[in-house]
Structure formats: C-alpha cells, structure tokens
Subunit: 360 residues, 3 copies
C-alpha cells in the first residue's frame, strides 16, 4: 500500500493524446524543403499533410507551391515542365501560372476560368522553405516558428540535413521532448549512462513546452569530447523546446568542470528539428544544427554531423519499430506514461485538441 501511494504521483494521466490517427493540424507553418532542394525550373514533389504538393522556383527566385495534380486529369505537375514561371502539364499541355490560374489549353481558344490549381503560401528563410496549407486568411497572422539562429549564420557554423521516417510525426515530437532515451537508444552515439537519471524540469513558457535537464558532473560522448578536448568532468545542460507542430529545438550548453569556475566557457550546440507530417505513417524530418565551437574546422564539423546523424538513425529505428508494432499488432493495448512523459503528454494532448478544434 505504501508503494502504491509512492508511485501514484509519478504516473501521468494519458488520455486524449494525439497519435497516428489524429488528423493533421493545417494552421501551422511547416518546412516543405530546404532551399537547396529547389533548382530553378525543376519541380519538386512532396507529400505534405497527406496532400501531394509540387514546389518550384520562378525565374526571380520566388518559391511557388501548388497541388501536385493537374485539375484536368490528375497528371502530376511535378512530372511536368516549368516554362518561365508557368507550369505546363506533361500530359495535355495545359498551362498554369504561379498563382494556379489556367493560362492556356492547347486544344481550345480560351482558358477556362474554373480550372485552377490550388496554391499554398510559401516563405523562404534560407536554408528553410516554409509552407502554409491551412486557412488562407490566417497565414499572415501567424509568425514563422522562432528559429532565426538557424537561418542566419552569424556567429554559428550551420549544418543541414533531412530524412524521412516511417512513423507518425506525433511520436517524433514526443521523442524530441524526452531525451532520457539518450542513455539507452543512443548509448553508442550521444548518450551517456547518467543522462536518464539526471534531474529535469518541465514548464510552459508562453506557448512553448520546455524541458530542461542538467547533467553534471558527467562525461561527454566522444562526439563532443573530441572536438572540445573535454575528456574529464563536464556539465551538459540541455533545453528541449516544443514551439509548434513544425518546430522543436534542442539547445545544449557544454562546460568544462575541470577548469576553475571563472575560466569556464559555455559552448553551444543547437538543433532546429523541423517536423513535417507526410501521412499518418510517414514524417519528413529536416534539421539545422548550429554550433559556436570549432566553427571553421570543416572536418570536425563533419565528424559531429556524422555522429548526430548516426543518433538520428537510432531514433528512426525506434520510431519505425514502434510504429510498425502499433500498426500490425491487432490486440488491444493501452500504453502507460511515466514521470518523464510529462512534457510529451502535454504536447500530445495539445496536438489532439488543436486537431479536433480545426476539424470540428
């Protein structure tokens, strides 16, 4: 009985959580692609929020996003031709302007007004291309998620990358908010054994959900220890922040505890985790990694990136494995949450509520 009382407060209420069956949230900014993914005149196909989308860059460098489906007979516009700033369908040659309006039909004199490709608002903050697929009246009222440091190299060395995971975006966000898994899933990459048990706090900061974990004294994984030459006692202070369905940020401070207090420097490494649902079983994951140490050493920078990508592959393995089990295991199953799920549960409850409000 004593144990029951003791454990109870550490159990989390986990009803009403978003999962792979929750509808997508359209009224949010998502990263559609990286700036470098777009060559002028070459269309790019992307499945975003369950919709086939085509993106291209006009002659003036603007990015256009439209539905990847000709309104005539559903031919993919991403397999069509960009001529100047127009798209000419590769099947029957129907021409659309960057605003989606039909400009010409080869077999007839007039372009029908009713024939129109749906377009989406795009904002580019290089290296990120953002898309708004929700209510067209709300894009201007909704600021881009806050990650200016990831789009302005001043003071930072930036690396970018992307991957697709066969998993729901919901569980990727949850993964990013509870880094206690570093000691287990990432024990061979950027985790250390003491990470999971380190004290952490969960709080709301405005709309952001913030988890802060102080691991100190600790040892750094080789990934950080080598470039910083910090193989002794260190502090690793990690802040994970969920900002919106399209952005979560992890910000890490590394300190050398073997130096006297006054000689210690904060070394920073931050990752903008740009999360874009593709469909219920797939998520597009772009990331921008910024560091303020060994900034000009390309080789070291590459080593760090390789190490982080190896860890992301471990996340992919975990998320894809549990997605497969959730999909294939027909027997009823109720997951249970633990104390470190506080932020994740808060996030999933919010995603569920926002999705339901949007689709109400």
């Amino acid at each position: 009985m004593a144990t029951a009382l003791a454990t109870k407060p550490e159990m989390i209420q986990d009803d009403g959580l978003a999962d792979e069956d929750t509808p997508f949230i359209f009224n949010a900014w998502y990263v559609a692609c990286l700036s470098d993914d777009l060559e002028t005149g070459k269309p790019l196909a992307r499945k975003l929020l369950g919709v086939n989308v085509m993106l291209y860059r006009t002659s003036s460098g603007e990015v256009v996003a439209m539905r990847d489906r000709c309104p005539h007979r559903s031919f993919p516009l991403s397999a069509s031709t960009v001529e100047g700033d127009d798209v000419v369908c590769g099947y029957h040659g129907i021409r659309y302007g960057p605003d989606g309006a039909c400009k010409a039909v080869p077999t007839q004199k007039h372009a029908p007004r009713a024939m129109r490709v749906q377009t989406y608002t795009v904002r580019e903050t290089s290296p990120l291309v953002w898309i708004w697929m929700g209510d067209p009246l709300r894009d201007n009222k909704t600021p881009l998620p806050p990650c200016g440091w990831a789009t302005d190299a001043e003071g930072w060395a930036l690396s970018t990358g992307s991957m697709t995971l066969n998993a729901s975006y919901v569980f990727l966000h949850e993964n990013l908010l509870d880094l206690s898994h570093l000691s287990f899933l990432h024990k061979n990459t950027f985790g250390t054994p003491d990470y999971a048990a380190a004290p952490f706090s969960t709080e709301l900061s405005g709309d952001a959900i913030v988890v802060r974990r102080v691991v100190a004294p600790t040892r750094l994984p080789v990934l950080y220890a080598d470039p910083l030459d910090m193989h002794g006692n260190a502090a690793r202070i990690v802040t994970s922040t969920y900002y919106s369905p399209g952005l979560s940020v992890s910000a890490v401070i590394l300190q050398n505890l073997d130096l006297p207090q006054e000689a210690r420097t904060d070394h920073h490494i931050r990752t903008a985790q740009l999360v874009t649902p593709q469909d219920k079983n797939n998520v597009l994951y772009h990331f921008v990694i910024a560091r303020d140490f060994v900034k000009d050493d390309a080789r070291t920078g590459n080593d760090i990136l390789v190490g982080i990508k190896a860890a992301f592959d471990e996340d992919a393995f975990a998320l894809e494995s549990l997605a497969r089990i959730r999909r294939e295991d027909g027997t009823p199953f109720a997951e249970r949450s633990i104390s470190s799920d506080k932020a994740g549960v808060m996030l999933r409850r919010r995603l569920r509520a926002e999705a339901e409000a949007e689709h109400a």
Copy 2:
C-alpha cells in the same frame, strides 16, 4: 464577364463518368492473350475482369478458357497439368475435361457431377484470342469487334505486342481517344508541337465514337519521316475510333505535301488497341500495328515498332502516375474536362451506363 461567356461552351459536363471504381462490363469480347502465348499442353494464367482465368490449347488446337481455381480446394489450375485435352489438378489429381466437367477423382470411384470448373467461350482470330466472360446466352449474338485487318495480313505488315499498365482500363481508353497529348507526353517520340492545336471533330458512327484530326501542313516525327523519306511538309490525318470496351483503333494517313497533288500517295499505319481490364488498378494492353509501307523491310519495321513502344511506355508512365495519385491522394478532388475531352467523356459516360445496366 465576356471571357466567362466565351469559355463556357468549351467546358464539358463530366458527371456520371466511369472511373476505376466502375464495375467491369462482362458482356463484351476482350483479347485474353495472343495466339503465340499459348503452347499446346502448357497452361497460361491470366487475371481478366477481376477473375483468375486459365487458358490452354487442346491437341486439336482449340483454345480452352476456364476459371483458374480447382473447385475442390482452390489450387490454381494454371499450376496443374494438361494431359491430352484434360486438366489434372496439381494438388489432389482431380481431372476436368475442356468443358469443365469433373471426369475423375483419384480417391473415389465416381466423379461428382456437382464438381465443375466454370468455362468461358473463346474465339481465336490469330494473332488474337478473344474471351467472352458475360452472359453465356449472348456470346453468339455478339460479333467480335471489327478489326479484320489486324488478323489478316493481306496487304499489311503486322507487328504485335503487349504490356500491362498499373491503371484502370477506363483511362487507357480515354487516353486513346484524345491524341492531343502527342504534343506533350510524346514530344520526344511520335508527337509534334502543332499536333494538339490541330482541328478535330468528334462524331458517332453507329455505336462507334470517332475523333478525326487533320494535322497539315506539318512535319512528321523521325519515326515516320525516316522510313518514308518524308522530311518536308506532310499531312497527318488521324482517326481514333472507340468500338467496344475491348477495342479502340487508331488509323493514320500520311501524305507528302511537297509532291504535286496528283503524285501524292496515302501511306497507312493502323493500331488495333486491345484493352482488357484485369482489376481496378491494372489493364492488359495488347496491340497489333499494321502498316502498308516499307512492308518487307524487317529492320525499318522494327525501328517503327521500337519507336511506337517507346511512346506506349510514355502512356504507361502517364496513366500509372495519375492512377497512383487518384489512389493515394485522400483529399477530395473533382477533375474538370476541356473541349478535347468530348469523345472521352462520351465514352466514359457510356461505360458507366453499360456497367450499371449490367450490374443492376
């Protein structure tokens, strides 16, 4: 407002159209295979109109078609043995005659009368093997679709081929009736830029839907220009005719306009397009190509065939792409038709009505 009035007549009413979800039309002749596909004593498996069918040639050369499923325990008869004119199931040895009747069961004295494989009427007009899978009382009342020139080589050089497309047969038929796509989808094979904008007419001729397009003066694609040595001004007159769910024909006349009128010859090339639905997402496409020029030059004939097949691969790409989009894109979407869809829309409306009448 003026534009709206002007464009209106060029829009086509496109309700009640057949698509991949429309049931198949059984009361029609379809090509099941080519004569050469059948070796005596060797069964051939085909999925036709959603049914697994097995075909074989008897000792006297007759073609037998029956359901590809032993009535006992569903073993595929196409994986069984043809012994003389009988089929002996490869699992338990149950023997069926070419009429589908059970002739022997190894483990018992008498063959049960109730055990019977469903058979289908077959007609062979070499190189084509036709099957009737509809009302057994109507096969004799329904003539084969008219393409005698494709089954009698007199005066023609014939080539045959086949392919399977991951697309509904409905959209293949529609594709074949609106060749304005030659200027775009086939711009690298048998299309020319002026093709799409050439004048065309759509009419009914009995039950046939006929589209006639006169492209003149024009240049011929290399595919025709080289064998005919016709690199200057030419006329290209194309008649596309839909006859039945199993047959569409394209007939092309090519003329050298640089010759004086009296010296001009009509060169013909015709394609019998033999369309056989397999299931809602797959269509079997046989074709017989007949030409009356450079008839005895095997190499040139082969060049033409290679060129045409390259174009058919482009059709496959288009039809498979739009089928995939129609299948995967969950978001509601209403396609719109244009003036050149008049024949296709007529055809799809008829397929829908015939299917509904049959399944009423």
Copy 3:
C-alpha cells in the same frame, strides 16, 4: 439418376468449416520455437496467434515468453537488452523481470506497479519450446500434445527443421490429414502414382482424428528405397493423426514384401508436425522427423531430410498458391469436398467450433 445416387455418398457436407477468417484457438499448446533458436541473453521475436511475442532464456536456462511490446511506448522488447534475467527496454531503459513486472524506471524513484508486460507460460521439452497463450488458469490442466518420441532420442535418429508458409494454419492441417496429394503434388519427391487410390480409413481415437492408408504392394520413392535398399515390392502404411491445433503426426511403416513374411522388419519414420498460427495469412511450421533405420549414417539421414524438405516446399507452394487465390479472387466461390476430405472436414469443423466457443 443412377450416377447421381452413386456419387452422392461420396460427397461430404462441408458447412461450418474453419478457414483463414476463423479466430485463433488460444487454449492450446503451440511450439513457439526450437530450443536451439534461443541463446542465453539474446531475445527472439515471434508473431504467434496474431500477437508479437518475445522469448529469451534466463541465466538458469529457463525460457521466458512475454509480449514483444514495452507497456510504455510500444518499443519492441526483442530489440532490447537482456541483462541477467531482466529485460531492459532499448528506448527509455525501463526494466522488467521475467514475470513481466516493472522493476525500475530510470527517470523516477519508484517502479509503477501498474506497468507490466504480459507473460505467457512456457514448457520446454527439448528440442521443442511450447507456449500457452490462452486462459492462464488452464495451462496446468492441459497436457502437452503427445509426441514424446520427438523429444527423447532413445531408439530414434532425430532431425528438426522449420519454415514459414504464407497460408492459414487451417489448410496446413487439412493438407497433413489427406495425403492422397502425394501422387500429384509430391510426384517428384515422396509420392508414387498408386498412393492416392490406395484404401484408407478415417476414425476418431479419443479426441484424435486418425487416417490410416495401406499402400501395398507398391514401390517406394527413391528417398526411402535407396537408404533401405528396397527397390522391389514394398508395403507403405501411413497413419496421419491430428491431436490438437498445435500438433499433427504422420507415422510411416515400410516393409519389404519381397522377403518371406517371417523375415520382414517394420522400418519406421515419423514426423511431428508442429503447427503454429502467426496471423491469418501465415503459419509457422516446425517439424521433428524420427527414423529407426540407418540411424547412425549422417549422410543418409541428411539425404532423407533434404528429400522431405523438398516435399514440404511443394506443400508450401500449394498452400501459398491457394491462399493467394482465396485472398485475391473477389468473385464468390464455394469449394466442394470429396470422400478423402472426411478427416479434414471433421478437423475444420472442430477448429471452427472450438474457436467459436472460445470467442463466444
């Protein structure tokens, strides 16, 4: 009319039969794996009766079976770590004992009592590992299916093997009870032409369904004729016995009929066919083959095993083919049974009744 009367008694009533859509029977022992499949400290993943199961061997050699899904966030425990006798989830490090109870959560002080992995009763009779996934109060009351000879080598040379078939376990059992298919499906391996027409009896022996077939005089297939040097007249007496959803046994006696009666020896070869449903379209098939002849000749033993496995591959081909047809052929179809189906139909009726009783 005379024929109708004659054939009628040979038709079998085949309503109420189990098929791929019948729910699984949980209150039965099934082989989960072979003893050799389990290395100490290395988890094994198995889909059994539709459930993802994980098995491992503890330091003392006991086999533990539990659901292959962490109660926290569904990570596969089979991709986790066995530490001592515990399982430590590879995602967040939650620790479970061999009884499924949660022993530790890294991010909190107390292990929540409510967090528990479902475990299953296991019995090992080497080389077989049995699992009970049904009512936990009934495991001790239900004896293991009778195949002691397959788990105790005394007097026998044993061989084991396993395969997965893309077919329902129901049709594997039916296949094993009607060996008349040896003359057809296995004509190139262990069948002979006269096998199917040999007299057979079907009877109940307690709960067991027994089919006995005497093929004599006959010739033996090379598989047996060579090791026994028995190339003349022989008797082949085969008893097929269905014991439970997890076990069917075939027992063969081979005699040399060219010897005088008093000089004849019975040579035995038995196969324990261990049938474990995985899901509606897949069955795990373990087998133990025991023979009492050329026991110490490894090469001959291997030849026999290779021959039998070739025959099992033919069964796999048949069962997978008919499963595919049953799955893909949407058109209504009613299979018909023949006299040799008596045992199979009895079995399938019983499986259906047991499944319905369990799920009532």
